[in-house]
Amino acid sequence: MVTNVYLPRPSRIVSVREEAQGIKTFTVRAPEGEPSWPRFAPGQFLEVTVFGVGEAPFSITSAPGSPGELELTVAAVGEVTEELHALAAGDVIGVRGPYGRGFPIGDMKGRRLLFVAGGIGLAPLRSLIGHVISERDDYGEISIYYGARNPSLLCFCEDLTAWESAPHIQVRVTVDSPDAAWQGPVGTVTSLLAKEGYEAGGATAFVCGPPVMIRHTLRVLLEMGFAPKDVITTLERRMECGVGKCGHCTVGKARVCVDGPVFSCAELLDLKEGL
């Protein structure tokens, strides 16, 4: 028996929460007839169908371990995402996946962890951070650098507060354009990190954000002394089929949907097209 990988399976939205301006987080129940989601790794993604409109890939933002439900954080930027934002608890979407290669959890044990995220780029890292915190003793100190264009675009504010109060976790949040109430640092997350500095020895860095932010941050991290293999990012590409066939998301010989979306900087340098 072979299942048809192209067929979306109906799945119900359990709840919807306003995450930031133009960004919502959807809690989605396992596909109808399934008691739980398949096991997934932080960094993997789902192909989500809004029936009659289209399909788009979204990284899973919740940590593994709550198998009946998972969360997707989505910015309304195109046809599918705008229609998705119009949906509410109880509505049905189609899902395929989880797909892709997640973060290299096995290689992270015992290391210090640096997370650098821009805007909605915190979504896939949040899954990983949640996982790491659930096994806190296995890792060294954790630093989280997060930036957004302005305070209304900051996602996961409750999580940021909770992470900050956990032991041995440092959280730094910055915005490009502050409003009157903003008291934190101002500027891009990359420049904040560069200014404050970070000891690269024994650390692994995880970077996710808009392509231009990723490019600059990787450069800064390499300048700080990180080895390319210890800098991990997750790429945004136009993924359609999600299963390595349609060709749209290739980066050199890699197909982001099956060989990624998580890549080390060393892998991207080898792929030539990645940066």
């Binding site: 028996m1 048809n4 229609e83 097209e273």
Partner: protein, 398 residues
């Protein structure tokens, strides 16, 4: 070796068409030679070396629907119905309702599975896609058959990856009867990419035209079964010699315009070379080369709704289209034409080979024949696949 006297060809095709749909190259009224469904009386055209299109659409159709949508009537005065009534009606039409969608645009939507793929029933062997009965593709060339072998890697789930039910449902019931090339064109370069005008990769039965008929050699069990047809007889010694001579003649007629050895490494080394821009200058990003290619397999997935009904389908896509890599955010990793141009050739001679240990080109030359700006893949590989030190000098830079 078996032999099919010329007069038996129509009989063979008739016998094959008893059990399968037979597709063969034939001339259309407008003069174009294309693969068409063979019926008694159809003249098979083998004098033209290549049908305009490789027969890849027999297995991988240009468009293929796999989900259907239908809105419930929003206005009860026009046509009152409940979701249950609509479901019954759709199921009566042969579709299976797989989901009832939410209030997109304030209308309830019913989703039916019209792909015919019965994915909910999940038994691919029992799939009834349009055109998934047994098929024989007759009269394709060895390069066309190799195109299937190259696509098989991708869709067949080589290396433990995902299996494509649509492609494979057709591929598994398709028999390839190739006819060796008697008169290769100047644009043929199969030998440069490891093929041959009498190559047998992916071929079930190879026929070779000689005086008085066809020499026939089975390559697979399927091909062997075709030889059971009573019109075949044992080949005479001189016929076997004629077949061997025809193969040798054709082999000699195909030029090998570049050396394959080192191409992959050199493409890698020349990745940033400015000559990519020079070569891409006259490309108009039309994508013709990808559509006529027997091994290009990229596709697009789209949803389309018209007047309350709609479908999700996939259709051939073209990596030269700037929209091919355009993301919703506006980010486009291959915005530049030269980057798209480099990607296609690198995919065929470097990326795909690294994954599948095979090229994604069978040397048919259709892309050379049909390019409106005369871009020649042989020239591209000769240039960019050469060691950097041996590259021809570049025209003066600005």
């Amino acid at each position: 070796m078996r032999f099919l006297p010329e007069g038996e060809l129509a009989g063979l095709l008739a016998a094959l068409s008893q059990e399968a749909e037979v597709w063969a190259p034939a001339r259309r009224p407008n003069g174009v030679v294309e693969f068409q469904k063979w019926e008694p009386g159809t003249a098979v055209e083998l004098a033209v070396l290549l049908a305009r299109q490789a027969p890849k659409e027999m297995v991988f159709p240009q468009t293929e629907t796999y989900l259907g949508y239908r809105y419930l009537m929003a206005c009860p005065a026009v046509r009152p119905e409940t979701p249950e009534e609509a479901k019954l009606e759709l199921e009566g039409e042969g579709g299976e309702v797989v989901a009832v969608s939410p209030s997109v645009s304030h209308q309830l939507l019913v989703v039916e599975d019209v792909g015919g793929s019965s994915p909910t029933r999940a038994d691919v062997a029992g799939v009834e896609l349009p055109g998934t009965g047994a098929r024989v593709i007759f009269g394709l060339r060895p390069c066309d058959a190799r195109g299937f072998a190259q696509m098989d890697n991708v869709f067949g789930g080589y290396g433990g990856f995902y299996f494509d039910p649509y492609y494979n449902a057709r591929r598994e019931v398709t028999t390839l009867v190739a006819v060796a090339c008697a008169n290769p064109r100047s644009t043929c370069f199969c030998r440069a990419v490891g093929g041959s005008p009498s190559g047998t990769e992916a071929v079930d039965l190879l026929l070779t035209e000689v005086d008085g008929g066809f020499g026939a050699e089975a390559v697979s069990e399927r091909g062997q079964r075709i030889l059971d047809y009573a019109g075949f007889r044992e080949a005479r010694a001189e016929e076997e010699q004629a077949v061997a001579a025809a193969h040798a003649r054709a082999e000699e007629a195909v030029e090998a315009p570049f050396e394959l050895e080192g191409v992959r490494e050199n493409l890698r080394a020349n990745f940033e070379d400015a000559r990519w821009h020079d070569l891409a200058l006259r490309c108009i990003s039309c994508g013709t080369c990808t559509y006529v290619c027997p091994s290009c397999y990229c596709f697009n997935i789209n949803d389309e709704m018209v007047e309350g009904r709609g479908e999700r389908f996939r259709c051939w896509d073209n990596c030269f289209n700037p929209g091919y890599t355009l993301e919703t955010s506006g980010h486009n990793p291959r915005d530049a034409k030269a980057a798209r141009f480099r990607n296609r050739f690198s995919h065929k001679f470097w990326y795909y080979p690294e994954k599948y240990d095979s090229l994604l080109c069978s040397g048919c030359g259709r892309c050379i024949m049909h390019c409106p700006t005369r871009i020649d893949i042989r020239e591209v590989i000769r240039t960019m696949g050469a060691p950097a030190a041996e590259l021809p000098a570049r025209a003066e830079e600005e």
